[in-house]
């Protein structure tokens, strides 16, 4: 583990109503690496991810205890502005959800919130981030078309561009390729590998091969508990826990 984790969860417990979804999670997420959260479905992967940008609390009846620190500051602390926390992180969800507006406005949505109004500055931002997510070539001639007219794969890249446009430090991906065709998935993965120099990337995935391809660091979650966490190579080649080994070998799923 790196000495100075970008995100650090400390004794994090999450309950949906009475049901405990995350049990006493204490982990660190290294900066400028791709971290993959793996584990069988329903083990709390998405919950953990959403606890990082405080999207959990928009759900009903969620109780959270413990702390999550980003850059050393507890995001669940008193007087923390939730929008400032979320601005630090871009989110890619399982299915792309473009906002109900044009391609251009999708990317410009975040910057506009933060007060950028000048057309020229916005144009420049939109172009840069669409290029960064390798969508520019396909859409530069129809930026005013509705975002819903794009293919699913393009929509996901648009969502990536939209997230990058608020200039986050961290990118969260909640099984970001699960709705995409193989070619589109590959493009997203490619982007992640390029982006990790500048961003801390955390993805949730249930595809082990994807974790192998991308991840530098692995967190294995089972029934709401961290079974094992560490550098990807160690986890895949020399897992310490029996359960990790069984999961990686496909005995449990």
């Amino acid at each position: 583990m790196t000495t100075n984790p970008h995100i650090r969860a400390d004794r994090l417990n999450v309950y949906y109503g009475r049901e405990q979804a995350l049990k006493n999670i204490s982990i660190g997420i290294p900066a400028n690496r791709i971290t993959a959260i793996i584990g069988p479905s329903g083990c709390g992967k998405s919950t953990l991810l959403k606890s990082f940008n405080r999207l959990l609390e928009t759900n009903e009846q969620v109780t959270i205890s413990g702390s999550v620190s980003v850059d050393g500051e507890n995001i669940y602390g008193q007087g923390v502005e939730v929008t400032a926390v979320r601005k630090k992180m871009g989110l890619l969800s399982q299915r792309p959800y473009p906002l109900p507006m044009s391609i251009y406005d999708n990317v410009a949505f975040g910057p506009r919130l933060y007060g950028i109004k000048k057309k020229q500055a916005l144009d420049e931002l939109v172009e840069r981030h669409l290029k960064q997510s390798s969508l520019w070539q396909e859409v530069h001639h129809r930026l005013n078309d509705p975002a819903s007219s794009l293919s699913i794969g393009q929509q996901q890249r648009l969502c990536l561009a939209r997230g990058l446009a608020v200039e986050p430090e961290i990118i969260l991906g909640d099984e970001p390729t699960s709705a995409l065709d193989p070619a589109s998935s590959q493009r997203i993965e490619q982007r992640f590998l390029e982006l990790k120099n500048d961003y801390t990337i955390i993805i949730v995935t249930h595809i082990l091969r994807q974790a192998r391809r991308l991840a530098d660091y692995i967190i294995f979650l089972y029934m709401g508990e961290v079974i094992e966490a560490g550098p990807a190579r160690e986890i895949f080649e020399h897992p310490k826990e029996k359960m990790t080994r069984e999961y990686i070998n496909g005995t449990i799923s």
Partner: protein, 283 residues
Amino acid sequence: MNKRILEETVMRTLMKLSTLLILSVLVIILITILVKGLPALDLAMITQSPKGGFYLGKEGGILNAIIGSLYLAGGSTLIAVCLGLPIVLYLNIFARPCSRLVRFIRFSLDVLWGIPSIVYGAFGFTLMLFLGLRASLLGGIIAVTFLILPIMCRTMDEVIRMVPRELLHASYALGATRFETAFTVVVRQALPGIMTAVLLSLGRGIGDAASVLFTAGFTDHIPDSLLRPAATLPLVIFFQLSTPFPEVQNRAYASALVLTVIILAICLTSRALTGRYTKHTIK
């Protein structure tokens, strides 16, 4: 075995007949209004205000009532949107989902929807006495706003609660506040439904008579101020029909035709619009 098949056939026929009956009643009503109204309809009816003795069969038209109804329904629809949209957005975006408040407000809006318009009229009247208002366009607008607010809210509510949670999350994840999410993302996504709600309310406002009976008053002039009385189409029809003169009664039929055409136009627009404004909608 035979009895079962017989029963099935009989019931099926009965069902088809009653469906046919109900659908044909609408057609019969429309045809009756058209046949009776068309001969009495002329250009003067819809381009002139009543001249002296209009209700005795002299010259004039019902332009004052057409404009009055549009002002009245337009004004109250506008107010109802300005009140209803925040209510619905609050219920769906700001308030804790399924909280007691949310459930109570939905329920109370449902109950308010069921209250007869004459009661809104009577209440509007007491409210006007309290405020020291006379029967006027403003009074009518207040009463009709009360009448259409629940319709507006519940119709929009049904659409806005269909907005996927993930779409809200996408907006929150960009650092948008609930306010920004509500008024940019949610409103755009639900735009077709909001338009339907507005048109539905507008149609209700134009067509309702009982709520404006006490509150809007009646006049032969096109209202030029909120504090002046305003004539409305339904009341013009009612008053014309109440006169003993056949030629004035004929005008009532023509006015009814005008009202029906307006309502039909609103209904059709609303149907046509459901397909539109979905350009940006995310499925």
